[in-house]
Symmetry: C2
Subunit: 200 residues, 2 copies
């Protein structure tokens, strides 16, 4: 055991260094526009060695996205503890929206690449689905603790999650330029809309 | 004058036939992935003749988008007449959302191509801006006629317009799969959210 942990640790560091280089490259050029050749060159491997290690360009992206998902899951687990003690549904969604935008910004490259992959395949990856369902659970918590008398509906929790994720991501992409630029104003407005969906 | 009108009419029909062929092609392959060569071949012109007529691939797209904009403007002018007589803000936005989704579906190819162009240039085209401002005016009409006591704010009208356009378009793109699939349920929910934004 003494030797196993450092070996794994070193392997993980190596893999993370490759993924960092991959992330750097796709954050400049996008995922679709980045060739496997360019990626192998950037991470300092031959194309064959890159394929032997990662399997494919898509498999490398999914590993990179796994790192984001682990972070997103940790953030949402923490939010699940806070939601019951927050003053209102609006306050809870405001906090959730702020936190979600922050991690989407920090991990913009893998998020954007996953969107590119979605547009290529028109299929939602199971990782995206999993963190989405974690968000739906948080919406249910908000309904349960702060929206008394609201009949529990999946429709509200699913739609609220969808709006929260898509609006924040499209805002970061600059595809929703007419939303308020002021951080506080924007997230207050998003919170009002989502609470309207949760009451549906 | 007798000869001028039919000549213009014939020229317009020819141009429309070229644009139809162009639209067919990009609806299959997307705008970015369609080469100028493929477009010229599809419309039955040499590349040189295509460029002499349209100027560029982007200029042809903008002509195609102009056709959509003319339709969208006509639809919105009609809505402007209906909004004051509708029973509520929710009913007005429901109608607006339904009508907007319909024309976005009918003219999906030029709309999607304009989005691709946006992602290439990260700049909103002035045509998009113009029809967007027409929609903002409709939101103001809803505020004026159906949301008494709401302090007029640009923030609400702009955000409501942005949400309406982006949510419907992303739903059509299948990028918001967690929204209700039932047409009536979806547009009722969108209406509730947008009215929340308009009250902001």
């Amino acid at each position: 055991m003494i030797y196993r942990i450092p070996r794994q640790d070193r392997a993980l560091r190596t893999e993370n260094a490759y993924l960092d280089a991959f992330e750097r490259l796709i954050s400049e050029r996008g995922y679709t526009n980045t060739s496997l050749d360019a990626i192998a060159r950037e991470v300092g491997l031959t194309k064959a060695a890159f394929l032997a290690r990662f399997g494919s360009k898509k498999a490398a992206l999914l590993l990179l996205f796994d790192r984001y998902c682990a972070k997103a899951t940790a953030v949402m687990e923490e939010m699940a503890l806070h939601i019951p003690t927050m003053p209102s549904a609006e306050a809870a969604i405001y906090e959730l929206s702020t936190v979600l935008e922050k991690i989407q910004l920090e991990d913009f490259a893998p998020n954007r690449a996953m969107q590119e992959l979605f547009f290529e395949e028109l299929k939602v990856d199971q990782r995206t689905q999993k963190i989405f369902l974690e968000l739906v659970d948080l919406m249910r918590l908000v309904q349960k603790h702060h929206l008394e008398g609201v009949a529990y509906t999946d429709t509200g929790a699913f739609s609220g999650s969808q709006i929260l994720v898509s609006v924040n991501f499209n805002y970061i992409l600059r595809a929703m330029p007419a939303l308020p630029r002021d951080h506080d104003t924007r997230h207050r407005m998003i919170a009002l809309m989502i609470v309207a969906a949760l009451r549906f």
